[in-house]
């Protein structure tokens, strides 16, 4: 068998396994009672993963696809230049085995998964990108660029680790400006004041719906399941901001109706849990599935892939292009709670605020094996939560389904501790 044929067959193997995984998730979810009807729009996006991801990302004639990683790459600039952004962070176990050929075993599974998808044509939007903006956020992402260059048109973006300093902010602003120039080269469209302002508004409109959704999750009744909430935000990776906003608006209307009718997807008195730590990307729904199968209510999360993604807002001040670029640079850097930064006091404040707003009873701190930034944060977070009387469970895992049963036991025990705490 020649190398090309082998490559095609390997891609097929990943594709079949991915299809099975996706199907498994939806078979389980669709059995759940009282799922909001407007989830169908978001389901469709993920179900395309069973068939090469066709139709997940809207492809208008001639619109260039710009791939991004993490949440540091400004989508506003991509939209303003007439491109379509697609976030490529990956959560598939099936492609990690391919990634392992390029990366050491100890690499984080997310990076292995992304590498796998970039090297093999399984999900078409990986191969369709005209530019892939890769911020050098953590060590893995920094090195992944060079390895990925062979398979994708990578543009590395330098990232400061100390955001309090003046020099780092200037460096980041100049990186944003460089990114803008590169995107303009790719799409052939110049980013002018009007286009940039409109793109900022486009994203802000999505954020309006996100804020509504976030407020809905603070209600006493859990009107949407944790998996669905993660799915909805995860869909923003792929969809166009405008269509996502429209779909969210309908979903929010339905959920607000549910709050009025007091329709809950969990039993009354279900334990209120929050997830935080290394991000969970579809189809890595291992832990939320276990939690919800055990009857827990996932009321909040602090992941860069969901709750954090649309939270921070660009503030246009004077309205010139430079002012907007400055605002964009600040928005994507300063409020970010990713633990790659040296001081993470903001992250801890945010966790406390979430616990307070959502009346969280217990926090599950999830680290992926090999994820050093979140690993290093564990003790700080543990101390913070303990000092505030909030129990925390540490889970270190990867994408493989082997440890599901052990996790189930541990999470079940944790939830029982929380119910016990209530009575006590």
């Amino acid at each position: 068998m020649d190398a090309q044929e082998k490559r095609r067959r390997l891609a097929n193997k990943v594709k079949v396994n991915l299809a099975m995984t996706v199907r498994e998730i939806f078979d389980a979810i669709e059995d759940e009672p009282s799922r909001p009807q407007n989830m169908a729009y978001f389901d469709r996006i993920f179900k395309t993963f069973t068939d090469g991801g066709k139709g997940a990302v809207p492809r208008e004639e001639g619109r260039k696809l710009i791939g991004t990683y993490c949440l540091f790459v400004p989508e506003e600039i991509i939209y303003a230049a007439g491109g379509q952004p697609v976030r490529l962070c990956a959560g598939s176990y099936d492609s990690t085995e391919v990634g392992e050929e390029f990366l050491p075993d100890v690499a984080c599974p997310m990076v292995k998964s992304e590498m796998g998808f970039s090297a093999l044509p399984v999900l078409s939007f990986y191969q369709d990108c005209s530019l892939v903006a890769l911020p050098a956020s953590c060590d893995w992402k920094t090195k992944m660029g060079a390895i990925m260059e062979e398979h994708a048109p990578v543009m590395m973006m330098d990232m400061p680790r100390i955001k309090e300093s003046e020099a780092s902010r200037e460096m980041w602003l100049s990186e944003i400006k460089r990114f803008k120039r590169e995107v303009e080269k790719v799409t052939g469209v110049k980013v002018n004041r009007r286009r940039l302002r409109e793109a900022i508004r486009l994203v802000q409109r999505a954020q309006v719906e996100f804020d509504r959704f976030h407020a809905i999750r603070k209600a006493d009744a859990t009107v949407i399941s944790g998996r669905d909430a993660l799915e909805v935000l995860n869909a923003y990776f792929y969809d166009h901001a405008e269509s996502w906003t429209a779909a969210m608006s309908l979903l929010n209307d339905e959920l607000e109706e549910r709050i009025r009718n007091k329709t809950s997807v969990t039993k009354p008195k279900a334990v209120r849990l929050m997830l935080t730590g290394s991000p969970m990307v579809f189809p890595n729904w291992k832990i939320p599935t276990v939690i919800e199968e055990l009857g827990g209510a996932l009321v909040a999360d602090e992941f860069c892939t969901s709750n954090r993604y649309l939270h921070d807002k660009v503030a246009v001040d004077e309205g010139s292009v430079n002012d907007m670029l400055h605002a964009i640079a600040d928005r994507y850097l300063l409020p970010c709670t990713c633990p790659i930064f040296s001081t993470t006091v903001d992250r801890r404040d945010r966790l406390l605020q979430l616990v307070e707003d959502h009346r969280v009873e217990g926090v599950i701190y999830h680290t992926l094996k090999g994820c050093h930034p979140y690993d290093l944060e564990t003790k700080l977070t543990e101390t913070l939560l303990r000092d505030n009387g909030i129990p925390m469970l540490r889970i270190e895992t990867d994408y493989s389904p082997q440890d599901v049963e052990q996790l189930r036991t541990r999470i079940e025990a944790f939830m029982e501790t929380l119910t016990g705490k209530r009575r006590g």
């Binding site: 068998m1 067959r9 193997k13 099975m20 995984t21 996706v22 199907r23 498994e24 078979d27 059995d31």
Partner: protein, 273 residues
Amino acid sequence: MSYFAGIDIGSATTKVAVIDDNQILGYKVAPTGVHCEETAQQILGDLLKQLELPEDAVERVTSTGYGRRLVKFASSNISEISANVKGATWYGSQAGVTVRTIINIGGQDSKVIALDDSGVTKNFAMNDKCAAGTGRFLETLCRIMEINVTEMGEVSLESTVPIRINSTCAVFAESEIISLLARRKAKADIIAGAHYSIANRVARMVKRIGLQETVFFDGGPALNCGLKKALEDELVTDLYVPPSVPQVTTAVGAALIAREESMNDELIEAESA
């Protein structure tokens, strides 16, 4: 013309093959039952009758399989690994295929054998402790879903997206599948999922041993085209299945060894004379 026989006594079925100096004459498969030696005798007798050969036509019998030592009338016995390798490489050479890896999925076990460049066993892995990944698992499935074993392959190929079977144990998988049927999931998807589950287990064994092409696939379940497809997907290689005889490859191998040993004896006799 001399005749030789190979008897493969498996825990579920016994396979008998009869060859002459040049070719395979015939083979027969029947359930082993409780008394293996009697069964073996019976099957051999039936086969000879079928081939219109006298009862004592067979010059030498070699037995293999788990019950090989119980066949007293066999002149020799060898491990099923060696017999399988012999049979597989012979079939391979007939078809012009260089066999370097053998996957055998039997009624109650599964093996992966790696061969070196001269066709000698280099390494092997075996799962004989558990029904998962064996023919027994597929039989159970058929029973629950009320379809014929021979239909399984064709039905599974209708599936577009198989359903993943999570249970690693065949007993637990049974309950998992029953619940899937209760939720009205398509049979094709379930069977395909079972195939991928077996393929996954086999792939893990192959990973330990190392895969080298061409891969030979035998044992009864090799007739299952759906299982073959699943294995090909998981292993990312084409499998060679001997046409219509995968179940008896080991028995044929044993017969070939019987012939070889006979020729060796003659040589020794000739030399000492």
